[in-house]
């Protein structure tokens, strides 16, 4: 009956290949680090935002500007170019950065280029649709002093089932009037990913 044993093995293998999986969901705190695929994820975005916030707030450019101009600097979020090999939503950490800087009370932000389009549409609509005592005036937007831009790059290396992914996020603040760069922040993230094993 050795042959039948082999056949049974074949059958079991085939059946194993057709097993279905069940799904369970559990809730975790938003700041819990969960790494599933090894790709860029929410934890990376949070770590990047935190590192940038810590760095940008402790540098001297805010104090210098405030002392010179007797007011808080006004910032605008510009382009953060993604030159990595993953689709990364840069808004996740630029919004965190914006929030923390506003909440720290040391800078002001104006709406970004894309956000302004909707605001300007509303402003234009007000000119014909809104009562004179509440209509907002044209040409009163606050001009930004600094432009926040950046780039994300990545390098991947792999051998024998181990993959190393290295991300570098660079953000910089440029004085719009003088083109002077007043701050450059950098966050590096390195991950080692072992090829996952599937379980049937």
């Amino acid at each position: 009956m050795r042959s039948a044993g082999v056949l049974l093995f074949v059958g079991v293998l085939l059946l194993l290949g057709s097993c279905t999986t069940t799904r369970s969901v559990s809730r975790v705190s938003a700041d819990t680090a969960v790494d599933l695929s090894g790709r860029w994820n929410d934890t990376d975005a949070q770590q990047t935002a935190q590192a940038m916030i810590d760095d940008v707030l402790k540098r001297g450019w805010i104090a210098d500007f405030t002392a010179e101009n007797q007011r808080k600097p006004v910032l605008i979020i510009g382009e953060v170019r993604n030159r990595s090999s993953e689709h990364i939503e840069t808004l996740v950490f630029t919004k965190s950065l914006e929030r923390e800087l506003i909440n720290a009370g040391k800078v002001k932000f104006v709406a970004s280029k894309t956000e302004r389009v909707a605001v300007q549409d509303e402003l234009m609509a007000q000119q014909s649709q809104t009562s004179l005592d509440t209509v907002k005036r044209l040409g009163q937007e606050t001009g930004a002093d600094f432009y926040l831009s950046g780039v994300i790059t990545s390098v991947i290396d792999a051998i024998e089932g181990q993959k190393v992914v290295y991300y570098k996020v660079n953000l910089e603040l440029t004085n719009i009037e003088t083109s002077e760069k007043v701050w450059i922040g950098e966050k590096q993230i390195k991950k080692i990913v072992d090829q996952a094993k599937f379980k049937f």
């Binding site: 059958g11 293998l13 290949g17 090829q195």
Partner: protein, 469 residues
């Protein structure tokens, strides 16, 4: 009743591993629509609920690749991207499964495993995704796709080396599977797209680096780029004009066909027959011979069937470009995607061969032993009915062995075979661009009129066109 039981078990087991192929017949409707350039209709027919049988659960990578390509051809970038995304994820998942499932691959026909995608499919899907993103006005996302392709190319041989190592560590392994090699390490097409993107944003240094890498692709991979590199310029167009980049895709990616070797034993004889599929998918005998080898027992039937990749030459020999009805030049061949598909197919060839031989021999010996035992017991019983049953059972077992061993002939159906490029300086503003495809004897095969659009100096201005003939 021991003999019939053993035969039944044998037959059932062999039929279990002999699912029928879903090739060509199921795609008649979609292929006809593609021939008529009704790409959306073709995609819908493949996705229609009534046609679920076009793709089994194991062929979901193919379903996503085929429909993604058809939506790309139909200029539906968002629909195309989402399907290419799904295909890319499945290819990654199926590769991981194949690492852990190495033991099963020695026993089960490859066709019964989840399709892991050919190397060229996994690589070139990023090119079409990049073009999709350009169509959506998302230049950074296009860059991501080009970077992904380059990353995959860097890791390509390692990927197959891991697969071979996984197979060698399986308890069923006999001997050592050596990973294949490929000459393909640098895609001129990917470099060209990157060059055009950098050039459009005025990053001349980066564009020059890509041009250098493009030239290296030709210089270091001569078997794959056996033609002159195109003439390209990295400088931005003069003020008031833009550089229009046209990528023309022609032909079809290679197809697969079955190459079969049958070995049948008689008393002191071994008969060998080789067959290969013709263009209609029918097996044609390509050779046969019989050897006399004393001591060989009759009743053993081995069938090994291997996938073979073959080129489908394109009819296109020249591609012209016109802007607002005026000819501005022609495209130059940049990448033989079909030749690269053939080259990278070799990466997994040896492992397929070893798995097939082991499976064939195991099944042949198993069925042969069962046949011989059945005939022996039937002869000893003196019962003529049982004798007849044993003979019928032998024939059925041989047929089952034959049916159970099928080459895995799955591949994406609508990928093109060649990429051509050309850069043309045109005035900034709205233009109508047409791309005309000609045969070697100068016959116009197809003229594609691209949708009229604005060509702006702040945009990459990369357009793509297809003639799958």
């Amino acid at each position: 009743m021991r003999i019939p039981n053993l035969l039944v078990v044998t037959l059932v087991a062999l039929f279990l591993v002999s699912c029928a192929t879903t090739r060509n017949n199921a795609f008649v409707q979609a292929d006809s629509a593609v021939a008529a350039r009704q790409y959306q209709a073709a995609a819908k027919s493949l996705e229609a609920k009534g046609n679920q049988s076009n793709y089994s659960d194991r062929d979901q990578v193919l379903k996503q690749l085929d429909t993604a390509m058809l939506y790309h051809l139909d200029d539906q970038a968002a629909a195309s991207t989402s399907r290419f995304d799904a295909a890319e994820r499945l290819i990654e998942d199926n590769y991981t499964k194949s690492l852990t499932n190495a033991a099963a691959s020695f026993v089960v026909n490859d066709y019964l495993l989840d399709y892991p995608g050919e190397a060229y499919e996994d690589l070139y899907l990023n090119v079409f995704k990049a073009l999709d993103y350009l169509g959506l006005g998302q230049g950074d996302d296009a860059f991501v796709e080009i970077n992904r392709l380059n990353d995959k190319l860097n890791l390509l041989e390692d990927k197959y080396a891991r697969l071979a190592a996984s197979m060698n560590s399986a308890p069923e392994a006999r001997g050592s599977v050596q990973p294949g090699k490929t000459e393909f390490h640098n895609s001129a097409l990917a470099r060209y797209l990157s060059l055009a993107l950098y050039r459009a944003e005025g990053s001349t240094d980066n564009a020059a680096i890509d041009l250098d890498k493009l030239r290296q692709a030709f210089a270091t991979q001569r078997n794959l780029y056996a033609f002159a590199p195109p003439r390209l310029d990295v400088t931005p167009a003069p003020d008031g004009s833009v550089r229009l980049s046209v990528v023309g895709f022609t032909g079809r990616s290679p197809a697969k066909r079955a190459s079969t070797l049958r070995i049948r034993t008689g008393e002191n004889t071994i008969s060998v027959t080789s067959e290969v599929e013709d263009s209609r998918g029918r097996l044609q005998q390509t050779g046969s011979f019989t050897l006399r080898v004393s001591g060989v027992r009759s009743g053993y039937n081995f069938k090994a069937q291997l996938p073979e990749m073959y080129l489908r030459p394109s009819m296109v020999a020249r591609i012209g470009v016109s802007v607002d009805g005026k000819a501005v030049g022609s495209l130059q061949l940049l990448e033989r995607m079909d030749a690269i598909a053939l080259d990278t197919f070799n990466l997994g060839k040896q492992s397929t061969l070893i798995k097939t031989v082991l499976r064939t021999v195991s099944k042949g010996i198993l069925a042969g032993a069962a046949n011989n035992k059945a005939r022996e017991l039937a002869a000893n019983s003196g019962n003529s009915a049982l004798n007849l049953l044993a003979q019928v059972g032998t024939l059925a077992a041989d047929a089952a062995v034959d049916a159970s061993e099928q080459a895995d002939l799955r591949s994406a159906r609508y990928f093109p075979g060649q990429a051509w490029v050309g850069d043309f300086v045109i005035p900034e503003g709205p233009h109508s661009v047409t791309v005309d495809y000609h045969s070697a004897d100068g016959r116009l095969l197809y003229l594609e009129a691209l949708p009229r659009r604005n060509y702006s100096a702040s945009e990459p201005n990369i357009v793509d066109s297809f003639d799958l003939e």
